[in-house]
């Protein structure tokens, strides 16, 4: 996709959410908006995909099994200060972080 010159590369969004339904719903909506979306179910996966796939934006759930969202945020911020990260609050309503 990105190789095609006349087709601009899709922006990549990593959704970090362990609740499968919510993750898929977010992916669906963002995909319909024309983004390339991948899902990480836990903190480990999130960090792996962040390094490998290099998303342009991360939507991060705070309540995660294993490494929690804030630790993920900290690890990413240590290496990348500019990557936009959108935090999903514990109470289901969105807030920016």
């Amino acid at each position: 996709m990105r190789k095609a010159m006349n087709d601009p590369p899709k922006r990549r969004i990593l959704v970090v959410e362990d609740e499968a339904h919510l993750a898929e719903g977010l992916k669906l909506n963002l995909s319909l908006k024309g983004y390339d979306v991948r899902i990480a179910e836990n903190g480990h996966e999130a960090l792996e995909l962040w390094k490998e796939w290099q998303p342009n934006l991360i939507v991060l759930d705070i309540m995660l099994p294993g490494i929690d969202g804030l630790s993920v945020l900290r690890s990413i911020r240590l290496e990348d200060e500019r990557l936009p990260i959108l935090i999903l609050s514990a109470r289901g309503s969105p807030m920016t972080g």
Binding site: H21, L22, E24, P65, A90
Partner: protein
């Protein structure tokens, strides 16, 4: 008091009225108390002991002075006075003993209440999460449907998710209703005499679709029937919890649950052995506590209501049995054993014909 107020004010604003009310109740636990309860306890005991000592000291001094006065006035030295000193000391000791005992009991109760507050707070935290997640998911899909015209195939898939979410909500609210029923002893259903093996088998047959993809087997090597007076709705609640736990807290490709009926000595052991994530030794007893969950509630690593195994234990007790948890360690599966008294008459196979 000021401390409590601060506790309320610093709470985040994005909370439901219910949470705000309950948070207010627990402000005491959330904010740091001025003095630790144990410190207060030790101080009051020291104060009581000191006053006890001073009472006796002064009393002895006063009586000694009185004796001297009696001596000087050359009145008959009173024999009763000496005897009374000991009675006074004895009565004071008993009274102080009662005060100390009372203090101790209040202290223990206070600690227990505090613990319950904390557990309940955990419960509210994780339970609101359990309620809000499916609601958030439902809302997300409904809004998506309103916005986009999705192909029928996709629609059906997402509607399937929504049905799951609704089921999850139903399950969670039912759990609370179950708790209320059990605690107020208003559960329905009659107590009937039934064969446990058959009860478990028919429960599994009826709910097989819920456990699709898992390998559940019922063994009863003795081939006997085990008749007990059971309350079918309650007993099914117990089984549902044990079955669901075995499958839910399981990271294996094929969740397995082996149920074995084994008469052991004077008891019937019904073992529910799974290949799930297991639990550490320190949690064997704690998992049955009300609102208790493995994992912390602050970071939401805990899931569920923390009521399932509490309900299981309550139901086991209502059936004059008990339940224990065992695991070889994390990731090595767990075994829940329901132990019921083995009645000689009730467990004989020929009992079947009388039923």
């Amino acid at each position: 008091m000021i401390d409590k107020m601060v506790g309320i004010q610093v709470l985040p604003k994005q909370q439901s009225p219910f949470e705000r009310v309950t948070a207010g109740l627990w402000a005491m636990g959330q904010s740091k108390p001025f003095f630790h309860p144990i410190l207060i306890f030790i101080f009051s005991i020291a104060a009581v002991a000191l006053s006890f000592f001073l009472y006796i000291y002064w009393y002895v001094e006063v009586s000694a002075g009185l004796e001297r006065v009696l001596d000087r006035t050359r009145l008959e030295p009173d024999q009763v006075l000496a005897a009374q000193t000991w009675i006074v000391i004895l009565v004071l000791s008993i009274l102080v003993g009662i005060i100390l005992l009372g203090l101790f009991i209040i202290f223990v109760y206070n600690q227990k209440t505090f613990q319950l507050y904390r557990l309940q707070r955990n419960f509210i935290n994780s339970f609101t999460h359990e309620l809000k997640t499916p609601v958030a998911s439902l809302k997300l899909y409904l809004e998506t449907f309103r916005k986009y015209d999705l192909p029928r195939e996709d629609q059906l898939r997402y509607i399937g998710y929504m049905v799951d979410d609704a089921d999850r909500l139903t399950h969670n609210t039912n759990r609370i209703l179950d708790l209320a029923k059990i605690e107020s002893k208003t559960y329905g259903g009659k107590w009937v005499k039934a064969d446990l093996v058959k009860a478990v088998q028919s429960f599994y047959e009826q709910n097989r679709r819920l456990f699709n993809g898992s390998d559940i087997r019922i063994h009863h090597p003795s081939g006997r029937s085990f008749f007990y007076r059971i309350n079918p709705p309650l007993f099914e609640m117990l089984l549902m919890n044990l079955f669901t736990n075995a499958v839910k807290y399981n990271a294996s490709d094929v969740p397995r649950l082996n149920i074995t009926f084994e008469p052991k000595g004077k008891r019937l052991h019904v073992c529910f052995e799974d290949n799930g994530i297991g639990l550490p030794r320190s949690e064997f007893r704690k998992v049955f506590k009300k609102f208790y969950q493995i994992g912390r509630s602050e970071d939401m690593s805990a899931r569920g209501t923390g009521l399932g195994l509490y309900l299981v234990e309550s139901i086991a007790r209502m059936h004059k049995g008990k339940i224990t948890a065992y695991s070889k360690g994390s990731g090595k599966g767990s075994v829940f054993t329901l132990m019921l008294p083995l009645k000689r008459v009730g467990s004989e196979p020929n009992e079947k014909s009388h039923e």
